[in-house]
Amino acid sequence: MSKEVKNDVVETNEKTASAEKAMKKGTVIQAVKAIAVLVIICLVCGILLALCNDLLYVSDDVKFDRAMQKIYPNFKKADDSPALDTANAKTPYGEVLDLVKSSDGAYILTAKSSNIGFSNGTVTVYVAVSGGENPTVAGWSIKENVGQSFIGNISEKHQKTWFIGQSITVVNPENPEGSGLGSGATHTENAIGYAINAAAYYCINVLKLVSTPESEAKDALVALLGTEYDGYGFVAVNDAEYLEACKVGDKELSFYFEGTKADSDPLAAYVYGEDDARQIVVVKDGITHAERLEEAAVVKKSEGIDEELVAKAQSRSYFEYQIQKSHAGFEFAGMGEVNEEFATAEKGTVNKIYLSTDGAIIVEATGNGGFMNGTVTINVIIADREIKGWSIVSNTEQSYISNIINSTQASTWYVGSSIDGALELGDNKVTGTTMSSTAINNAVNTACYYARNTLPQGGAE
């Protein structure tokens, strides 16, 4: 290769390298420019957004007020908004989850129904209860639900009309299901009714927004018992016949309460008269302990109480009344010995046997499988190999057991059934208490299993 050609090649190579270098430099500059532009745009947008955020920020308090104003237009959170009383948040209709007070005295409660909705689901609602002398349901709206496929049928129109303006004392005391509202989602509708009733119940019994004769009697009872008996949960037993049976002369029994507390003896409270003339006597035993049917110990009584009323309370135990109502010939003859061989069945156990002079027995049995895996203990009266009646003695974790205690539907269960076969409730369970009903059914079958294996004419299975 000549020297000139060689020089040309070197020169060309140098030029190519230089061009490549320039191109690389150009590419880097372009990349840097692209990144710089993107970064600048991001920064400017960020600053703009920060400014807007400063101007348009909506605080959590404002958001909360707005959400509440949808249900109750005059809502403004009060400074003295009370905390939820969690110990009393569970009601016979459902559970109150939260509450907030408005500056005008109204309350907005978040209440969840018991499991009575579609597919045993629940509905949680916000319920606004107005203040004043006669608190009413001022508004409500659905917060959330579990398994309510047809919740969409409950329109905004329904939420603006159903229950609105009703006094919390009469929201639906007899029929919380509110049937006939006609939404096409009956179970969901029932759950809504229960949730609203739960809120109303809490307003009456815990917030004391309104006083009913029952709540006044309960307050007087709690005041009489004092702190020594703190923690007892009292449920009014609305058995008109029993109230009538406890009449002393012209003095009528206004209310009969049963009180229970974990690991404590149950109490029975008899309230006669109202206001200043109210007289209360509280007894223990005599409710569930048939050994002392006529010696129910007096726990507390009003000052200067008519001794006749005390004697009546001691002698007219609800336990005895219920037994004799189911089996008039029952006369307590003493305690029977539990035959351990048949005391434990598949889903329950037998605890006690009460004997009657006419051969009838009362089997106290505990059934498993209740709500929250709790149990229900019941007395089953058996005579002539037939169930004459039954009553609930105690329970664990069964929040809605009072629905069964006060249910006329439940009072007819099993009566007249033979003890020789398995008993099923089927669809006859009390709405909203499916699990407790199951536990009762297990207890009844346990009692029957015991009775058919131990009573005369019954051979071992």
């Binding site: 745009i41 947008c45 807007c52 129109k157």
Partner: protein, 224 residues
Amino acid sequence: MKKERFSQIALDGLVRQNPTFRLVLGTCPTLAITISAINSFGMGMAVLFVLVCSNVIISLLRNVIPDRVRIPCFIVIIATFVTIVSMFMEAFLPDLFNSLGVFLALIVVNCIILGRAESFASHNPVGASALDGLFMGLGFTVSVTLIAIVRELLGSASFFGIELWDASKFSIKFFTSSAGAFLTYGLFIAIFNVCYNAVERKLKHNRAHKMLKPVTAETAKEAE
């Protein structure tokens, strides 16, 4: 700007390139929010605002934004305006904000906005881009509001939230369902396109007719 250019942009946005009925863009919000006319109108206004603002800014920066990072830049700009709209609605129109829910935030990825930024605003001057945003936004707003009016009327017996008759006596719940949304949308597209094609054919025919020279004695002689 020439009058012809203005009318061309306006016609494109409202009719010829109507984003909902002709280009079938922004289908997700169209199907989801047309259950109520108020929601649809609110959504339309939000899209209009974002379209105008993003088109203006992108057009202004069209010579500054390098080609290789144009999409990230567009997204950042669009997202900024969507966030501003969202903040504004939350502060002043909380009911509408709650009703639109996630679809408000999803305006960021609305094909109409990104499409106009990419195909128009990044190649045209500010004025034209703003007009394009305005008319595209109006086209979208009118379309979704029309669909919503029909669905609300038949499904809920109301018009812009005002109850016209008792829905329990007559209403076709199907129209409030997703399937009802698809059907209504499909019918609107069909009707719009049938009308559009008919008008266009007629216009073409008229244009062609005008272009033909009238036959006179002189022209006939020339032809001979």
